[in-house]
Amino acid sequence: MSTVAFAAIAILTLAAALAAATLQKLMHAALSFAVMFVGISGFFFLFGAEFVGLVQIFVYIGAVAVLIVFTILLTRHDVGKVRDFKWSGVFVAVAVFGGLVWAISKTKSLSIVPQQIKPVTVQRIGELLMTNYVWPLLCVGVLLTAALIGALILVMEEKS
C-alpha cells in the first residue's frame, strides 16, 4: 500500500517539477512549482512526519508560492516570448545529479540500519522547542523580527 502511495506521489512530484522547468508560460511554471510542494508535503505525511508536512504546505504554498506569483506579476516580463532551450542547463543538471548520486552512494552512514525511533509527534516537537532548542528558537524569532522591521523601513513613505 505505502509503495503504491510512494510511487503515485513520486510521479506527481516529478511531473510537476518537470512541468515547472519546461512550461512556456512563467505563471504556469510557478503554479506547477506549487503542485510540486504539495507532492513533497505528501512524502512527509507518508513517512509519518505530520508536522513537517503541514509546515511545508503552510510555508511553501501559503507564502513562497504566493510570493513567487506576485514577483512574476509585479515585474516586467514579455508575455509572448518563447523560452529557448539551453543545453548547458541540461549539462549542469546532469552533473549535479551525478555528483549527488555519487556522494550518496559513497556515504557510509546510510548502510547502517537505523534503530527504531519514537514517532515524531507535534507534542514532542513542541516540548523540544521549549526545552533543548529554546535559544535557537529565540534567535530565529529575533532575526525574523529584524527582517520585518527592515522590510517596513524599506517601504516606508518619506515625509517631505
Binding site: 505530520e50 504554498i61 501559503g62 508560492a65 506579476l73
Partner: protein, 396 residues
C-alpha cells in the same frame, strides 16, 4: 437512551461498514470509512449551504424592511433548488484571452481547500472526520492555499477588475491571517495540544454544575474570540470586509469573469469557508459540542455544535445587514495597528491567567492586562479629527 441518540451516526457508520469489516483488508476498510465521512460532510454542509443562502436573504430582507424570497415553495424555502437549476443551465463563458487552464482550475481549487478545512472539526462526541495530531495546524495550512486559488482566478481571467479584486483579497487575507493564528495560540498554549478533540475536552468541566469552562468566559478568551471572529469575517470576505468583490467599485473582483456553475462554486466555497471558520471558533472558544449547562448534556452533542454554529452564522448575516463596507486602507490599518497588538496581548494575558492559578485571581489579572493595553491602544490610535478644512488623501 441519551447515549444511543448521541452515538446514532457512529452506529450507522459501523452498520454500513459491517459487511466488509473483518473480511476485507485493513486499507479497504480505511478507504471505505473515509469515503463515508466525506459523503456525510458534503451532504450536511451542502444542505446547510442551501439553507443558509435562503435564510440569509430572508433575514436581510427582514432587516431591510422587505419580504425576501417567498415565491418558491413554502416561505420560499425551495429557492436554492431554483437557483441551483438556474446556475446549472446558464452558459459557461470563458473569456477569449483568458488562461483557460488556470481559469478552470481556480474554482476547483478554492472549493477543494474550503471543504478540506471542514475535515478536522469535531462535530460531536467521537465525530471528528479526520483525526490528526496537528488538526489546528492542518486547518490553517489548508486555508493558506486559498490565497493561491484566488490569485489564479484573478490572473487567469485576464481582466483588470479580476486582478484588482484578487490583489485586494490576498492583501487582506495575508494581513488577517496573522491575528487569526495568533488568537488561536493562547488556546493551544493553555490546552497544550494542537488536537481539536483535546481542545474540546479541556473545556468539558463545569463549575457548580452550571458554569461551563469554555475559554470564551475568561478575559483572554473573550478578547481572543472577538479578534478571531473579526479575522474570520475578513478571511471569508464577508461584509463589512468585502472589498475584494466590492460590486460598486470593481464589478465582482476575482469572480468577474465567471458565470454559471463556476460562479456558483465560488459562492459555495465562500459559504463553506464561513462554516469552517465558525466551526473552528466554536471548537476553540465555545466549548465545541459540550452543552452550556451540565444537566442539558442529555441532548446529543452534535445538536449543541450546530446550535452554536447557527448562532455564529446568524451574527455573520446580522453584521452584513448592519455595517457598510470599509475602505481598503482602513482594513489594513485596523489589522496592523489594532488587531495584531491585541492578539499578542491575548497571548500574554493567557500566560498571566495560567501563572496566577487559573482561578478568580488569574481572571482579574488577565482582565487588567487586556484592559490596560486596550485603553493605551485606543489613546494612541485616536484619530478624531479636529475641525479643519477638509483634506483629501486619495482623490487629489
Amino acid at each position: 437512551m441519551a447515549d444511543s441518540f448521541d452515538q446514532i451516526f457512529i452506529r450507522a457508520k459501523q452498520w454500513l461498514l459491517s459487511p466488509i469489516s473483518g473480511r476485507a483488508p485493513d486499507w479497504l476498510i480505511q478507504v471505505a470509512s473515509s469515503l463515508l465521512n466525506i459523503a456525510a460532510l458534503l451532504g450536511v454542509f451542502l444542505t446547510l449551504f442551501a439553507l443558509i443562502s435562503v435564510l440569509e436573504r430572508k433575514i436581510l430582507g427582514r432587516m431591510q424592511n422587505r419580504y425576501g424570497p417567498n415565491r418558491v415553495g413554502p416561505f420560499g424555502l425551495f429557492q436554492p433548488v431554483a437557483d441551483g437549476i438556474k446556475m446549472l443551465i446558464k452558459e459557461d463563458i470563458v473569456p477569449a484571452r483568458a488562461d483557460k487552464i488556470v481559469h478552470f482550475l481556480a474554482p476547483v481549487l478554492i472549493a477543494a481547500t474550503a471543504i478540506l478545512a471542514l475535515g478536522v472539526i469535531p462535530y460531536g462526541r467521537n465525530m471528528t472526520p479526520f483525526i490528526i495530531d496537528g488538526g489546528i495546524l492542518f486547518f490553517f495550512a489548508v486555508g493558506s492555499t486559498t490565497e493561491l486559488a484566488v490569485f489564479m482566478a484573478g490572473w487567469g481571467s485576464n481582466n483588470k477588475f479580476s486582478m484588482l479584486g484578487a490583489m485586494r483579497a490576498i492583501a487582506q487575507m495575508i494581513s488577517y491571517e496573522l491575528p487569526l493564528i495568533i488568537t488561536v495560540l493562547p488556546v493551544v498554549m493553555i490546552v497544550g495540544s494542537l488536537n481539536p478533540d483535546k481542545i474540546v475536552g479541556a473545556q468539558a468541566a463545569y463549575s457548580f454544575g452550571f458554569m461551563p469552562h469554555w475559554f470564551v468566559f475568561t478575559p483572554w478568551g473573550a478578547a481572543a474570540f472577538i479578534l478571531f471572529f473579526v479575522s474570520g469575517l475578513v478571511e471569508s470576505n464577508r461584509t463589512p470586509f468585502d472589498v475584494p468583490e466590492g460590486e460598486s467599485e470593481i464589478v465582482a473582483g476575482h469572480m468577474t469573469e465567471y458565470s454559471g456553475f463556476k460562479y456558483a462554486t465560488f459562492f459555495m466555497a465562500e459559504y463553506i469557508g464561513m462554516f469552517a471558520i465558525s466551526g473552528l471558533g466554536v471548537t476553540l472558544f465555545l466549548g465545541g459540542w459540550h452543552a452550556p449547562i451540565h444537566f442539558l448534556e442529555f441532548i446529543p452533542s452534535y445538536v449543541w455544535f450546530f446550535v452554536k454554529l447557527s448562532i455564529l452564522l446568524f451574527v455573520y448575516i446580522w453584521l452584513r445587514g448592519t455595517l457598510p463596507r470599509t475602505r481598503v486602507d482602513q482594513i489594513m490599518n485596523f489589522a496592523w495597528k489594532f488587531m495584531l497588538p491585541m492578539a499578542f496581548t491575548c497571548f500574554i494575558a493567557a500566560a498571566v491567567w495560567h501563572y496566577t492559578g487559573r482561578g478568580l485571581r488569574g481572571w482579574l489579572w488577565s482582565l487588567a492586562v487586556i484592559a490596560v493595553v486596550y485603553f493605551t491602544l485606543s489613546l494612541l490610535l485616536d484619530t478624531r479629527r479636529k475641525f479643519a478644512p477638509r483634506t483629501y488623501r486619495f482623490a487629489e
